[in-house]
Amino acid sequence: MELATSDRYHAMSVDSFDTEKLLTNAARQRDARKLNEFPIFDADAHHYESESISEIIEYIDDDILNHLARANPAIISSGRGGYQPMGGRITRYPLRKIEETPADGVHRDVHLSRRWMDAMGIDYIGLFPTGMLGIGLIPQVEVEVQYARAYMRWLTEKILPSDPRVKGYVFLPFNSPEAAYEIATEFGDKEGIVGFLITSPRYKPVHDTAYMKTYSYIEETGKPLIFHSGLNWNDPLMSVTNRFIAAHALGFTLYNVIHMCNWICNALNERFPKIPVVWTESGLAWVPWLAQRLDNDYKMRSSEIPGLKKLPSEYMGDMYYTSQPMEMPNDLSFLESTFKMINAETQLLYASDYPHWDADMPMTIYDLPFLDEKAKRNILGGNAIRIFDLDVSDRYPNYKAA
């Protein structure tokens, strides 16, 4: 396979591709740091469900949409725009097509996941879709609902039962509050389901009364509610940017900023105090910024949010954050300050985002000089084991929370 480069003299031709080989250095990191001696949970891993779209479409009951989906399989990932593979520089994007997996009845997504999990020393993953992260932007609500149900049926029948190391989240078709509730209750206690997912790129206020019964149900289950961010280059604000780096850096942050603001300013932490709310794939530096902004305004305008009983920053310190894409400033004291503000030792969950382009290896946490061993292990696995109520006895029979 010929990879696209800047000129023909520096062409690169590849005959085969193996994730394990690409991640040889990750395996060396794993062994040097003895990462296999304690549990690591990757709270934000991905598969490319679009590569299995013909399987997922089989689960769409609606005849008309089933036909439309078969005729136009790309419908789920339309509309966001982007250059994630960086002009082919991230070679795993084009090369994954030629990676071979055994035909042994275990789904290809599971085989591929195991390869990078084992290389990095990751024991368990929480699996997110890729193309469907943008499905909340499709104007046809019924498309999101049908795809969400089909995806969940496929995920819980074809993927999760294959390997207990692979966990999943209920995809809530949030543009339809009724369907979100139905799907939450239909799939919330399926095997391997550890939480509920709202994809953040969308334009629905999280405080809408119509969602309260869904939140109540989620609170009853005790499982986390996860906001997974994303970008929408077609957003009128984002469309002012002309480089993907800007749309990415801003977009992946701003959707979670808005939902977080609404969550706090409508006192949803007080209404649903037992829901562990997790903010995913926005990095971390936005949290101190927003916390300070809200605290400053709240001290002057507390009458607008009478439901709060403490500072916005204190509610933010009670919530959870996944680490990737973690900012890595040359001056690590900036990052240390962020960790302090988010109470990282108990509230931060390691995430790789693999196989996406800005994936973070476990060493990004393990090598931080300002963390002690207990904090590292909590962030890499212990915090997730606690809030997702994971049973890790299959791999760590003697595990005890730090």
């Binding site: 990879l3 480069t5 800047s6 000129d7 003299y9 520096h10 062409a11 690169m12 690409l22 040889t24 250095n25 990750a26 060396r28 990191q29 960086m86 002009g87 082919g88 520089r89 991230i90 070679t91 795993r92 040359n330 382009w357 800005d358 994936a359 973070d360 290896m361 060493m363 990004t364």
Partner: protein, 123 residues
């Protein structure tokens, strides 16, 4: 004294070729022939440890700004080639191994010697 690692025959390389050779049990060195010059770097990205030398060689991308400061597009500058780490896309100047986005970071550089037909890297 530096260890000599035999890379291969110089005649086996053509412009733009690279060869990755073992450097002990747990590391490798990427050896390049670019614009007639030999370069060698550790196959280890300073960012997150990716196998930088297993990625693409790409020309530097430049912005074209006219005298009146208007944007005219972008172009490849083939005089400056970059090693691109395949994990995350960090780019390194082939001439000195420095990360082009932040030259405080760099790939570890090794000397290359061509003696007769044989190419050696000094590790």
């Amino acid at each position: 004294m530096a260890k000599e690692i035999l890379v291969g025959k110089a005649s086996d390389f053509k412009e733009g070729d690279k060869k990755i050779v073992p450097n002990g049990k747990n590391s490798e060195i990427g050896v390049y022939l670019v614009h007639g010059n030999w370069y060698a770097y550790a196959n280890l990205c300073p960012h997150q440890g990716g196998p930088a030398c297993e990625g693409l060689l790409m020309a530097k991308v430049e912005e074209v700004i006219a005298e009146d400061k208007t944007y005219q597009g972008m172009r490849f500058n083939h005089d400056e080639m970059h090693i691109v780490c395949p994990w995350h896309g960090w780019e390194f100047d082939i001439a000195d191994g420095q990360a082009v986005a932040d030259r405080k970071w760099s790939l570890r550089k090794f000397e290359v010697e061509v003696r007769g037909e044989d190419v050696y890297v000094l590790a």
